[in-house]
């Protein structure tokens, strides 16, 4: 295509005019993504505060993070949360997709129901779930009373707080794995099932021999996307528990937020955000490796 354009005119203008189309976006990209990233990396090696007085400290912030029991706790909490949410969302999302993958009006309505909560903001979702979970008059407490049980303080009980946030998050985000699986199921060739039906294969057999192998790349995708998304847990504990009780629901991002914007230790917060970035990058690379390797089979 350069050839056809080149025959019309020549010189610098022709060579560079195409770049004008990408220039506006690239300007924003550099300003809002590249430069902030560099500032962040530089900050992570300084001791900065609100007034920007900075002293270069090399990797001190990182070694301090590794010795900071609060940070280590938040790293563990984040992992705990990922383990509570990602497997559950993958299995439930797949089950919903398998059941709702048909043309009936009921299936369409239910798909809409399961995706609807995804469009709500984190602040609305947490507000809704606090009104379900609080022991003073929450829906769970009201229901407990009906069956003659004591109300449970879900969000202030250390063993229950994180699972409660996980349930809230699954409720909020179950639509995404469901639609990813639905899209994948549409791609499975129908004649595979027809051939299996001729062989009188059972439904379970078809699930394990046809459906699951055909969508295995999507299963990996759902798990990896889930891990990356849930690593970034922030709003739910910030609004529902404030990280408590006893730091048991404080994730890495909340640590970054509070270190940065409550204590104004920007260098230290920036270091923590680089650690999170590295963790996410590793998961993304595993995902990339999986998806590019696929056709080996």
């Amino acid at each position: 295509m350069a050839g056809s354009a080149g025959s019309r005119s020549s010189g610098m203008w022709n060579r560079w005019s195409g770049a004008l189309f990408v220039a506006p976006y690239l300007a924003v990209f550099v300003l809002m993504l590249a430069i902030p990233l560099v500032i962040g990396i530089r900050l992570s090696m300084t001791r900065g505060d609100l007034f920007g007085i900075k002293e270069f400290v090399g990797l001190d912030n990182f070694s301090r993070l590794l010795r900071d029991p609060v940070f280590l706790q938040t790293a563990w909490n984040t992992l705990h949360f990922v383990l509570l949410t990602v497997p559950a969302m993958t299995v439930i999302g797949l089950a919903l997709a398998l059941t709702l993958n048909n043309q009936t009006r009921w299936a369409a309505a239910l798909r809409a129901v399961f995706f609807a909560s995804t469009v709500l903001s984190v602040t609305v979702v947490t507000l809704v779930w606090r009104l379900v979970l609080i022991p003073e008059g929450g829906l769970a407490a009201v229901l407990a009373k009906v069956i003659g049980r004591e109300p449970v303080a879900f969000l202030s009980e250390p063993a229950l707080a994180m699972p409660s946030i996980a349930v809230t998050t699954i409720w909020w985000g179950i639509g995404l794995p469901m639609v990813l699986f639905l899209a994948a199921l549409q791609q499975v060739p129908r004649d595979l099932y027809e051939a299996a039906a001729l062989d009188n294969a059972s439904r379970t057999r078809m699930l394990f021999s046809i459906t699951l192998p055909s969508i295995r790349r999507t299963i990996v995708l759902v798990i990896m996307v889930g891990v990356i998304l849930q690593f970034q847990l922030f709003g739910q504990p910030q609004l529902m528990t404030g990280g408590g009780p006893n730091n048991s629901t404080r994730p890495i991002v909340l640590f970054i937020y509070e270190t940065g914007w409550k204590q104004w230790q920007l260098g230290y917060a920036a270091a923590a955000s680089q650690v999170l970035f590295a963790m996410i990058a590793i998961v993304a690379m595993v995902q990339y490796w999986f998806s590019s390797r696929k056709d080996a089979t």
């Binding site: 019309r8 300003l31 602040t123 920007l266």
Partner: protein, 277 residues
């Protein structure tokens, strides 16, 4: 003939999905009925919400209290501006990357793709510093500009422009049309499905964005609805206006649910695309 029978799910699965649907809807309905209840009645006993009298008083207080409306307007302005901006920048860049030749094109595109892997957490501190330096916090510019850098839009539009047959623009070039004209009059109309997908995705992304507006907009009049709802629930434990709080949740949730119902098809496609890249 046999295919429908093969695809029909077993009965226990249908039952489980029905139960799951009830679990999905119950919290929303609970909040809805609480929002129609008098605050003092709820203070005494929230289970009173199941029985009349119900009232519209909480919604009247929202309308009477100007702040929630200010937040709503901020959300509308920010979300629309970001949507228009992303569509414009991503379409131009997508056309450039997909169709035009210029030095460094491949490298630049790879750099933009790498940007997909950078999470918000890695740039938000630097971004905050940047806006502090130029004293732009608490402005629409600060709320909109970071969202325009999302590489997903460029990725999506580039893919879409690449899928359009090249013969179309070559024919136009022979007719003597300029590149800008080819882009604007011939190719852009062909990308309307992708524009709808990207637009609806960006709109929701902007509307529900929480962390950046939380730290950038500190002035109460510059909050978006999403952050405003967070501000009102901060003193949740001492609140005496449970019904009022719930009415705000409904007020904040209903616009997104309505937009979702109208644009369901595009949104689902966009979300699947964004996760799949």
């Amino acid at each position: 003939m046999r295919a429908p029978a093969i695809n029909r799910p077993p009965r226990f699965a249908i039952a489980l999905v029905a139960i799951a649907a009830i679990i999905m809807l119950t919290p929303m309905l609970w909040v809805l009925i609480l929002s129609f209840k008098d605050n003092t009645a709820l203070m005494a006993d929230t289970s009173s919400a199941f029985a009349p009298p119900w009232t519209l008083a909480n919604y009247q207080s929202i309308i009477g209290e100007g702040q929630v409306f200010t937040w709503l307007m901020n959300s509308v302005i920010v979300s629309l501006a970001m949507t228009v901006g992303v569509l414009l920048l991503a379409s131009l860049a997508g056309y450039g990357f997909a169709r035009l030749e210029f030095p460094g094109r491949r490298l630049l595109f790879v750099v933009v793709l790498l940007g997909l892997a950078v999470p918000e957490q890695a740039v938000i501190i630097g971004r905050h510093q940047l806006f502090s330096t130029v004293s732009l916090h608490n402005s629409y510019t600060a709320l909109v500009l970071p969202g325009l850098a999302m590489p997903f839009g460029v990725f999506l539009m580039t893919q879409y422009f690449r899928a359009i047959p090249k013969e179309i623009d070559e024919a136009a070039l022979l007719d003597g049309a300029s590149r800008l004209r080819i882009f604007w009059r011939i190719l852009l109309p062909l990308t309307i499905p992708a524009q709808a997908t990207l637009g609806i995705f960006t709109f929701f992304h902007a509307w529900n964005d929480y962390w950046w507006p939380l730290i950038s907009a500190t002035d109460r009049d510059m909050l978006t609805l999403t952050v405003g709802i967070a501000a009102t629930q901060m003193n949740f434990a001492q609140t005496e206006g449970l019904g009022f709080l719930m009415a705000q949740a409904v007020f904040a949730g209903v616009p997104t649910l309505l937009v979702y119902l109208v644009f369901q098809r595009y949104l689902v496609r966009a979300v699947a695309g964004a996760a799949g890249q």
